[in-house]
């Protein structure tokens, strides 16, 4: 499913939420929408779904304006999902299956519920589901009609690490089957793992778009370690700051933690633990996050804001 945003503008009163957005997505592509809160991501996606009407410009799906026929081919997993709490998961999926005229909705629902470990809850009332279970159910609903375009807004928020892995695999499988993906997320590391192209949007304007390599071009990447100690060692900062691998260090005394930015691959968890032990420090927890797209996103956003000023 090919999607074209042509000079799309959407205003709310005097506030311009989306400003002359031009973007083209090829069929089968995976695209990530990045941007701070209020940047215009959700407004753009809601206009694509026909919830908002553009003030000017247009959105074409396979060359056609948005209508009920095109929307039938779209699957949506919204960030804040709402359900009919008085229905069971099975009834809920059956309702959407009938609405989308899915021939084998019950079987598809069964397979997807099993994939996301929800099969045992198929006959439970949705009102009794946890946040993560509701998120998974929303994903099943979004996939029940085998959409040609899948729109995911914060798809892994509220999920535990195992759930994140399950959902990520399911999304990647859908993509391999030819489904076009649009993912909007603040978890940039998640976007990196799922999409091939990203667009950074701020104040309604598309600041930059391209492959992840393009976006990262020239941007410094680093690993961010959070090292928690048994007791907060105020004197450890100097030793950690002097280490070869450290680029930057921050204290978080309330959590007995130091946050260390290091060059990617310059240090591993074991080595960091041993380094601490050599300095008489006992680590209780080590957590690494690779910061790459985030840094690029922040830098591009900051540059853009400076230009606007």
């Amino acid at each position: 499913m090919k999607i074209e945003f042509k000079d799309l503008t959407k205003k709310f009163g005097t506030f311009t939420a989306v400003d002359k957005l031009n973007l083209s997505l090829e069929s089968g592509e995976s695209f990530g929408f990045l941007g701070p809160n209020g940047a215009g991501k959700t407004t753009t996606l809601l206009t694509l779904l026909g919830i908002y009407q553009p003030d000017s410009g247009q959105i074409l799906i396979d060359g056609q304006p948005v209508n009920a026929g095109t929307r039938r081919k779209i699957g949506v997993v919204a960030e804040y999902q709402t359900f009919y709490d008085e229905m069971t998961a099975r009834e809920y999926l059956d309702f959407f299956g009938r609405l989308y005229q899915v021939a084998d909705a019950q079987n598809k629902a069964k397979v997807l519920l099993e994939r996301l470990q929800l099969a045992d809850w198929a006959d439970a009332l949705i009102g009794n589901f946890s946040t993560g279970m509701k998120k998974k159910l929303g994903i099943v609903r979004g996939l029940i009609h085998s959409p040609e375009l899948l729109i995911l807004d914060e798809p892994v928020s509220g999920l535990d690490p195992f759930g994140i892995m399950q959902v990520r695999e399911l999304i990647q499988e859908q993509h391999k089957l030819g489904t076009t993906l649009i993912i909007s997320s603040h978890v940039l590391s998640e976007i990196e793992k799922t999409v091939s192209r990203v667009g950074i949007i701020s104040k309604g304007k598309l600041l930059k778009e391209g492959s992840i390599a393009d976006i990262l071009g020239g941007q410094k990447t680093f690993s961010q370690w959070q090292v928690q100690f048994l007791e907060f060692p105020p004197n450890a900062k100097a030793a950690l700051a002097a280490a070869d691998f450290t680029l930057n260090i921050e204290e978080m005394p309330e959590q007995n933690t130091y946050q260390i930015q290091a060059n990617p691959g310059s240090v591993e968890g074991g080595a960091l633990g041993r380094f601490a032990l050599q300095h008489g420090l006992i680590t209780t927890q080590l957590h690494r996050q690779d910061i790459s797209l985030e840094a690029a996103f922040i830098k591009i956003s900051e540059e853009s804001l400076q230009n606007l000023v």
Binding site: F12, L46, L49, G50, I51, Y52, Q53, A68, G69, R71, R72, I74, V76, A78, Y80, Q81, T82, F83, Y84, E86, M87, E91, F95, F96, R98, L99, Y100, Q101
Partner: protein
């Protein structure tokens, strides 16, 4: 415009069955059935009273008023449930989820209307059952007018349902929808009841009637003159009276008015929802 674009289509029937399922599961169906059965019991009691006082020969249709009143009660209950359902879906965001897919305003509201009309029809059938039981137990002569009266009552439920859906769309939020709904019911019933009460007062005590009372009576009469063409309750009341007095043409005109009102109000509700969208701004 093709017929496909005018007819609500398959989506509406899916939504209608969904509404039926949710209402059946919720407390709504119990309220509806309770009110239908309660009214049926009142109806039975009323018939007994008429029989005891030997008034059956005097009154041409002793079942008329109880059936009409039960229709009013059911209209209000069903209308309130429908209005709350739509307002809650707007509030909660479940409606937006439907609109992400193939559902449009026309299909959604038609589906909701069909669902609740089905519930209205079931309630009318409960009243019919009680009416027939009443006739059988009390040895009242079966009357074909009963079916005509129930048809008008059903059309009244449909017209008030359409008004309730429009109220929900205009209200946007559940809180506003309740306020508008109560106001609409109050306006529709108060003028009608007020007019009847003052009319009785003036007739009963014309010697003591003041000018002020006459003025109020005139105002209420004027408002009622307008309402008799607009209020589903008033139109049904007059249609039922015409049926009772054998004025079949006027009775049919009343029914046609109810159908027209249902269609007009539904059209307004659909256009309004399509125009403003589920987020109150498109």
């Amino acid at each position: 415009m093709s017929s496909k674009k005018i007819l609500p289509g398959r989506e509406a029937s899916v939504i209608a069955s969904h509404i039926g399922q949710l209402t059946w599961r919720g407390i709504g169906i119990f309220i509806i059935l309770f009110s239908a059965l309660l009214t049926g019991a009142v109806l039975l009691n009323n018939s007994t009273r008429f029989l005891e006082k030997n008034l059956v020969l005097v009154d041409k249709e002793p079942l008329f008023l109880p059936i009409y009143l039960s229709g009013v009660v059911l209209s209000i209950f069903i209308g309130l449930l429908a209005s709350m359902r739509v307002a809650r879906e707007l509030d909660k965001g479940t409606l937006e989820l439907l609109f992400y897919g193939p559902v449009e305003s026309r299909q959604y509201l038609s589906g909701v209307a069909i669902g609740y009309m089905g519930i209205g029809l079931a309630s009318v059938l409960v009243i019919l059952f009680w009416a027939k039981l009443s006739e059988m137990l009390l040895n009242l002569a079966p009357d074909a007018k009963l079916f005509g009266l129930l048809l008008s009552v059903f059309l009244m439920i449909c017209a008030f349902l359409a008004l309730s859906l429009l109220i929900a769309i205009l209200g946007g939020k559940a809180r506003n929808a309740i306020a508008y709904f109560v106001l609409a019911v109050f306006l529709l019933l108060s003028f009608q009841i007020g007019d009847s009460l003052l009319s009785t007062l003036l007739l009963g005590g014309s010697a003591t009637a003041t000018d002020a009372l006459s003025l109020v009576r005139k105002i209420l009469y004027s408002v009622n003159e307008v309402l008799r063409w607009l209020s589903p309750f008033q139109i049904t009341f007059e249609a039922a009276q015409n049926l009772n007095h054998g004025a079949i043409t006027k009775y049919l005109i009343g029914n046609i008015l109810l159908i027209a009102e249902t269609l007009i109000l539904m059209t307004f509700a659909i256009l309004r929802l399509a125009g403003k969208g589920v987020r109150g701004e498109r």
